[in-house]
Symmetry: D2
Subunit: 258 residues, 4 copies
């Protein structure tokens, strides 16, 4: 059975910037989805900010193994209840690939708990992406490094918690370095942050970038977990026979406060 | 110089429950602050939900090395902008001790990114708190374990990210177990979650609990860090001499999107 | 294709203790291998201390996806060069399941770097194993907890580094608690430590224990990684054109010191 | 009270290489110790491979808060029992700073469990060390980055477990990048690996390098922990009243096997 991917695109620059339209006539989301669909194990579709519920209905998420997220100009336009929904699904086991400027997205900051701030420069310089763990599934098929001819610089300090694994480390012609490929676990969801992908350059057309995305999709856990949050609401009967003692705040059978 | 602690209390049950009033006539926050103030190295004051800005003004937070957080019935009453402020301060290096039902507080869930759900039972049963790391500063002065005569049971599964360190593991008379003392790092802030502390029992009067809180305050980093988030807003000039190339989205001198 | 498992057994108590012989007439290793082989996806064979090279030749390890390790009385009899070999294979991506008293094995202590010490008691008491992460692949098919009717107590403090994930937490009738299921990553190898399994009780005959072992085997990474340690021996030519400067210690073409 | 530092030097190149003698007439260890001793809070002495017990007697280690380790040509000459001793002390709470080629030392590999392999080149090129966490105590007083005019390149992949924190990331003129400042916890010991420090260049004379070492010494935990490994040898009496049941392997009062 295929891995079901939903490629989420903010789809704003594609409407407003001629430069971006020329690089991605069908939008970045379609470019990414098309690349993923070249792989017979992957079945990718798209969703965008402008659709009802941003294209991320309960039904869509239930049928999504891996969600990719690209946003930049309209992070604040993403409705909180959709972010809640995506977060809940990630904690249940859906994989999330956060791309480039998605580092400032509501969903990434919410899952990580930090500002996710970094330094940046838009100068079309070259980025050299080094592989820190050549045996990692996400790095399979790559050499020791690859180059992105034109990129936006993202540099340290990058305020994120210590990652589960560091897969890539980038250097930019202007001199900076950056932790450009990081994995996290939150609940049962695997998260992969991958920094290349500025909208004014043809980065998602590049074979190495597409390979990383395909690898990352396959690295994703295909078996959603079973964190049953709602079974935690009511008081749990004891395993051992105990005598209840002392004062209580909760009425019998009531749900806990939260 | 003393370690400056602000003991934050939700202070709701203290107003509404006779049981809680009897156990904590001055409120749990004052009980905790008094215990901390017995230590000559610590200078603790209180703040509560009902005060303007919940007692957590910019000025108060700037003068706080360690913030302790107890909340239960009114998590949703805590204003988001105060949560933003506390989070920012933690990321800059303020230490945060999250107590008992604070596991569902906005600030804890925001810093951890998960539901922080758990199972629970209010039956006045005994809790035995085991020390997992006898050499950790937070466990100094304790034996192999100590007992809380009457407690609310908090049990696994506890949906939190893998902690930085696990200090305590609790067992309850009714049979469950729980990771009852966990540390995290977010930005430069140290976070300690400690589960004992139900409002209807005199847990914060217990010497071992007070010792853990004093230890945790001292374990806190006294030197706030220097994550200068705002210096990341404008584009960063390169270190190496590079020639800007290609199309750009950002106007010269503009701030990045977020 | 099947997952190839090698079940390593120290096989000493089976030769010297009548009690153990009665519980495991064919040895613990055969009991474990038989259980694993009930699963059509798994193909398990055994290896023991007494065989040449402890049954762990280069060829055997090359054909092993997952190695399980049970040892107790003869940790010091395991030859260091075999430990070197197993460690190298784990770092390349072979999965390692360390069972019960294997916590003091050379291979586990070498991969973790700590004493791996714990407290213990052999009193045939009951152990209740709680699931900390119900959505984890290793916990699939289990309820909230299961019980081992007779077990050896292993208690905190357990001196191990912070694990990658905590899957199980045990409580014993005598009162102690223990982190009984932990995962680690070292190189590309996944490691799972699972504490139940004392030799004088029929623990490996128990369905829940066998289920955990099967789950853990499947959780193992099937694609060995590609950490090419030896390509790091000789000096690496630069990517950028640089002029060599200054004094050197190494002769051109020589291998580095280690 | 001062922080007591023992600066351990292999002291081999200093005897055999004229180049190294010129850069470090008194040996690298004395250069490092002198720099540390400029700080009134630090009291540093040296120890070398050639001394009895490599200068690391039980007494010396008992009086050491922080041990720094530089080795390159003679890792295999370090006696295993001294490595055992240092490891035990680290697990009890002594801090360890591992410098440059010390990545291949017995003690570092033993504490980390991986090969600690990396790529390298001795070409006297420039290294730019970037600060990943400007708020970390080890980075205080530094700017966004500093440069080492002549260095030996150490590049990814660096086979180490995921660190506790990543403080520095280096780039080299020849193009490679490297995680050049990493922290770990093992038992109660804090470990800091810092890669600059090749013997043929005057790196330990450089103010920024000396500042990092002083900062790292102060970051070290001053209160050694209390992991009492030996209290785990004999069986532990139960907390709850239990009836011993079933067969036993251990004689009453005997020590456990390991």
């Amino acid at each position: 059975m295929s891995i079901r991917v939903t490629v989420w695109g903010e789809n704003v620059h594609e409407q407003t910037s001629k430069v971006v339209q020329e690089v991605y006539p069908m939008g970045m989301h379609n470019c990414i989805a098309d690349a993923l669909n070249e792989d017979p194990e992957i079945q990718a579709r798209t969703a965008t900010l402008q659709e009802p519920e941003h294209g991320l209905t309960e039904e869509v998420l239930q049928q999504t193994d891996v969600l990719t997220w690209w946003g930049h100009a309209a992070h604040s336009k993403v409705e909180d209840q959709i972010v809640d929904r995506v977060q809940a699904q990630v904690l249940e086991g859906m994989c999330l690939l956060v791309l480039h400027s998605g580092h400032y997205s509501k969903i990434f900051r919410r899952l990580l708990g930090t500002t996710c701030s970094l330094i940046w420069r838009e100068a079309g310089e070259m980025e050299r992406v080094w592989v820190c763990n050549p045996g990692h599934p996400i790095a399979q098929g790559l050499g020791r490094y690859f180059e992105v001819p034109q990129t936006e610089m993202y540099g340290e300090p990058f305020q994120v918690p210590t990652p589960h694994e560091m897969i890539f480390s980038s250097w930019y012609q202007g001199g900076e370095v950056f932790r450009s490929g990081l994995t996290y676990l939150r609940g049962n969801g695997k998260i992969f942050y991958f920094s290349p992908g500025h909208e004014t350059y043809p980065i998602y057309h590049q074979p190495e970038i597409q390979l990383v995305l395909k690898n990352a999709v396959k690295w994703a856990c295909p078996v959603p977990g079973l964190w049953l949050d709602n079974y935690t609401r009511k008081a749990t009967p004891p395993v051992e026979d105990i005598q209840e003692r002392g004062p209580k705040l909760h009425e019998p059978g009531s749900e806990g406060l939260r």
